[in-house]
């Protein structure tokens, strides 16, 4: 596996604190494996994201690493026209509505968040 700058890890590899972090991590690896961007392109976007977060006052102790990772993933997806701001916002509200429309404990389906 190539270099992940500043990634929280121990002697056996990367460490995740929450499932969404692993999900975001896997998305980047998968898109890269599909040839949708070069690893160097990813590293550039991620480093810029981390640098701008630090400039904005994030002490960047490792606990916010995957927030930067996710922001960088959104950025590169837009740059590469894999997605765009509009559909991301729309899809996010749809998921939020799906949660709110689903009785507790039932599986969350995206279709439950669609406005009729």
């Amino acid at each position: 596996m190539q270099d992940f700058p500043h990634q929280p890890q121990d002697d056996q590899g990367p460490v995740f604190n929450e499932p969404w972090e692993a999900q975001a991590f896997a998305l980047v690896i998968a898109l890269h494996e599909q040839g949708l961007f070069a690893w160097s392109e990813w590293a550039t976007v991620l480093s810029e994201q981390i640098a701008s977060a630090q400039a904005a006052g994030d002490p960047d102790l490792g606990n916010t690493y995957y927030q930067h990772w996710l922001a960088a993933l959104e950025t590169i997806s837009k740059q590469k026209k894999l997605s765009n701001e509009d559909e991301l916002m729309k899809r996010k509200s749809q998921w939020t509505a799906a949660y709110l429309n689903t009785p507790h404990g039932k599986p969350i389906e995206l279709s439950s968040g669609e406005t009729s």
């Binding site: 998305l27 998968a30 997806s77 507790h104 039932k106």
Partner: protein, 212 residues
């Protein structure tokens, strides 16, 4: 059988903004055929064992060797586990259920896939499967057999149904022949599956084997 739900709300609280952003992007990329969900699962599985079961193994091995910690763990697992630096961020409570000679504990989430991920990481695929979710309740002994776990016929199996507010961690029995072992060595006997309850802790001879 303890099977008390708190599923009486008529909606589900949406997860964090970060989680929603990941879900939004992932579902769009999958729809467009840019990402294959199977590929994502494979990547996550590769890293899965890194997300957490070792945290749980640390908790269990400490409970085996430190009676004071064990007492604290049984009294208030959320707090005892947090004292080791493993904190839930969704405000969920953790309860530890202890295996004894008479009682074996098994954890499931019958309705979705609630899981004590602060101590165990991401749930394995079978934990989220419908057959496990139903059969852990209807025929737990058969489920254990499929995992190669044979219990004394007289022992009782208790199934604990997780919810988004309450998660369970099984405290397996300390294997025989480990009396002089250090906490660190003991950790290697504590598999993820033994903390879900589908298996027992490894014996000293099985040390170093991996979860299925």
């Amino acid at each position: 059988m303890p099977h008390d739900h708190h599923h009486d709300h008529d909606h589900t609280e949406p997860p964090s903004d970060l989680e929603l952003r990941v879900k939004a992007l992932e579902s769009l990329l999958v729809e467009k055929g840019l990402v294959n969900p199977e590929t994502l699962n494979r990547i996550i599985e590769t890293y899965e064992h890194k997300v957490g079961p070792r945290n749980g193994a640390h908790v269990v091995a400490k409970a085996w060797t430190d009676p004071e910690f064990k007492q604290a763990l049984m009294d208030d697992a959320t707090e005892a586990v947090a004292s080791l630096g493993y904190c839930g961020r969704q405000g969920e409570h953790l309860e530890v259920v202890e295996n004894t000679n008479d009682t074996h504990n098994l954890v499931v989430c019958t309705l979705c896939s609630c899981y004590p991920w602060t101590v165990l990481g991401l749930p394995p695929a079978w934990y989220k499967s419908a057959p496990y979710r139903s059969r852990a309740v209807s025929d737990p002994r058969a489920v254990l057999k499929e995992f190669g776990t044979q219990l004394d016929e007289k022992s009782t199996i208790r199934t604990w149904d997780s919810t988004s507010e309450m998660r369970y961690l099984v405290l397996p029995q300390r294997p025989a022949g480990t009396e002089n072992w250090s906490e660190q060595d003991l950790q290697q006997l504590v598999s993820r599956n033994s903390m879900i309850g589908v298996e027992l802790a490894r014996s000293p001879e099985q040390k170093g084997e991996c979860d299925k």
